[in-house]
Symmetry: C2
Subunit: 299 residues, 2 copies
């Protein structure tokens, strides 16, 4: 562990001398941030997935997928996901969960939730949309940046904007027709951003905490990474909307706002790393390489 030790050692020794002239690192930017740089997500947009190894916290993106967000809230609240399971773990791609028996006679019955929904692959750009562009370019879209705390792309000509398939983003699985998804089967991106999925499927939110509980699930050996044996599935003990959970049982998090000077400064620390270790700063940064930082909220 020489790398680590040396890194820490040098940081301590050079800090005092260089403090004034040293360019900011991400740690500096976060340390200097003010309370108003952070937002507390609405507990109505937070889903807790209780797995055998712990809790996964997901934030819904109702601005981009209002119907799916509403349906997922309904499905969670009616207990649809409880005792369902993670069905698929696909190397460098996705982990997916839902009802293993869907389409069969013993499938879990939905009470008020919808089995299918109109696609929300993109939204019309609104004049009132807050959009913070990333000026570094993108292979897949003409414009990319952040809106409502999520990574997004835009096509001004077509007046469309959409969430992008970055690591940790969650989408609603669908079949062949555009309206065949509903949020009853969800997947999370666990590999290099599969941006070719953008505008082909509805993204519904992202994982804020607990990604490591999903990404380290042994890969399925069936086609597309599905588990071949039922016992390989990881059970979902329960799903809950944070707003329905007792205050002392909630996971209190806050998220760095993406419409602030602090976030712009953070992007710059990712674009040109000025830590002593880096010899050749990249000069640019890819959309999915900019972290939207999440931290525990201190009471």
């Amino acid at each position: 562990m020489l790398s680590l030790c040396t890194l820490v050692f040098l940081s301590i020794n050079t800090y005092a001398a260089d403090k004034k002239n040293k360019p900011l690192t991400m740690t500096d930017v976060l340390a200097q941030s003010s309370a108003s740089d952070w937002r507390t997500p609405s507990p109505n947009n937070i889903v807790y997935w209780e797995l055998p190894n712990g809790r996964v916290v997901m934030e819904l993106a109702p601005h981009y997928a209002p119907k799916h967000a509403e349906n997922i809230r309904q499905l969670v609240r009616e207990g649809y996901f409880d005792q369902l399971a993670i069905l698929r773990s696909h190397e460098n791609y996705v982990v997916q969960w839902g009802d293993p028996n869907v389409g069969e006679t013993h499938a879990k019955v939905m009470k008020k939730g919808n089995k299918t929904l109109a696609p929300e692959f993109f939204q019309a750009i609104q004049r009132t949309d807050v959009f913070n562009p990333l000026p570094d370019g993108d292979v897949y879209a003409k414009q990319v940046g952040w809106s409502q705390g999520f990574p997004v792309a835009r096509d001004v000509k077509r007046k469309q904007t959409w969430l992008t398939h970055c690591y940790g983003m969650v989408g609603a699985g669908r079949d062949m027709t555009a309206d065949s998804g509903s949020g009853a089967e969800l997947y999370v991106v666990i590999g290099h951003a599969p941006r070719h999925l953008d505008r082909n499927i509805t993204l519904v939110g992202r994982i804020l905490q607990g990604m490591e509980l999903l990404t380290t699930i042994p890969r399925g050996t069936g086609a597309l990474g599905f588990f071949e044996k039922p016992e390989q599935r990881v059970p979902i003990i329960s799903a809950k909307i944070a707003a329905d959970v007792a205050d002392d049982q909630q996971t209190k998090l806050e998220i760095l706002r993406t419409d602030t000077k602090t976030f712009t400064e953070l992007i710059e620390t990712r674009r040109n790393r000025k830590d002593d270790w880096y010899l050749e700063p990249a000069g640019k940064v890819e959309l999915c390489n900019v972290p939207i930082v999440v931290r525990a909220k201190t009471p």
Copy 2:
């Protein structure tokens, strides 16, 4: 598992009717490939990492990192890596292995291997280099494509070319100085391509098989994803160069050549997915989203 079932169902039913007019999928391109589209890597460039759960197969890239490749071969052959361990599992970043006691009095002793090496962060572009460009652009480099079966970037003005930090690429950890790495401590990319590392550290090759044995290792809870307790480390039972392993113990693989018409056709299937499922083909593809396909070699 409706998605999967429907997909298979439709594929079978539409195949006969549409066979003639249907654009090629990746499966079609691979099925139509000829023996000359594939290369068998030199067994002198293949390292087997024997882990408790199985074998990880890595290919060295001596064209881009000749000194590191030679040193890694030496370290493997003198048994340096045997009984060392995986020390770090960092979510959406890297898994890293080496000697946990390096720098300490009870560190493993190198026999003929070098502890440090001159950096091989990039190479001078040679006239004789085979380079297959990807014309779809890139955020980090002016030119990207493939050479010698690896993803690479180029700066013609600076006459430099370098391997890129795509998922599955393996690099030689280093400390603060450029020449402080040697290949004795290695890392593999397990998340969204950290391309900002390009030209800051020496990439030495990539994992051909067994990535899932590395990516699903529980994440370390120490700083930078290092394991806090020795018992959390994953032991490396042994490392071997394939050329030194009995023929019937070798993992026989072949790799799709990147300098062929077949590979160009494969890129097109990734750029514009024509599977029935896709409604909005991306039109472009990112370097790290093009798979360099590996398959078992039939005797």
